[in-house]
């Protein structure tokens, strides 16, 4: 069967974070918080988890005096997400036939 079910995307927050990063070059912490409607702690845990797997990379910077944390998807993260998508699509196709 084509594709690969990735445990990293089993959690809905991580799945959504990755979906957002597939279509946005760079997204900061607060934007994630608004889009996903989750608590700081919850979001931070999932982001750290994805970072550990090298699916996303973190870039810290300052906007004026405010610290800003930007996230972007890595090549391996994008590949893993694509494989996960392929898996889901195939699953749907197989269920139909």
């Amino acid at each position: 069967m084509k594709g690969n079910y990735d445990k990293a995307f089993e959690n809905v927050v991580r799945l959504r974070v990755m979906s957002i990063l597939m279509v946005n070059e760079q997204v900061d912490f607060n934007t994630f918080k608004e889009l996903l409607d989750v608590t700081d702690g919850n979001l931070a845990t999932h982001l750290r988890n994805l970072e550990k797997q090298v699916y996303i990379q973190v870039e810290k910077s300052f906007v004026g005096r405010k610290p800003q944390t930007n996230y972007s998807a890595t090549k391996s993260g994008k590949d893993a997400f694509q494989a996960h998508l392929d898996f889901l699509e195939n699953l749907i196709k197989e269920n139909k036939t």
Binding site: S19, I20, L85, I92
Partner: protein
Amino acid sequence: MRKPEQELADIKSMMERSTRFLSLSGLSGVMAGIYALIGSGMAWYWIEGPETLGLASALDHRALMNRLLILALVVLLLALVTGYIFSQKKSQKTANKFWSSAGKRFMSALFIPVLAGGLFSFALLHESYFNLIPATTLIFYGLGLINASHFTISELKNLGLIQLMIGLIAGFFPEIGIYCWAAGFGMAHIIYGAMMYYKYDR
């Protein structure tokens, strides 16, 4: 595990919410169209209304142009303010952030061509090519909409194509420019806005 269909729908909606500006309200399109129709009606009355032949000749050319310019700016301002208010209301209702990065991208995609068109119209005004102004405003607006449609509901592209087409017609037949203006900014906005309202806003 959730059903894969659900999973994919979730992914798609996240991608859209993070990249597309979905707060644009259909009603603001309808209102903009109504303002434009009233505006072009007034302009028509000033230029070639039946008993205003007196007025048109009494006003010299410059004064008429100034009146039309002020009228156009008032219509534009009203449409923008209404669009802003309705869209903000909608974003509150749907809990989408109004001034998101998708919103900013939408605005710059729309307003760079529109601003260029507006300034170019001033150049035409300055050089006295009055009869090409309806075509110019419609064409640049259409291009702006097509450009901005990548960052909002994709149907906006159709409105852009219609404006572009009407604009080109106005370019070849400048004598019906004011009717094209009313059709594009007025009728097309009302029809499109009503369609979008019934499809997305209710």
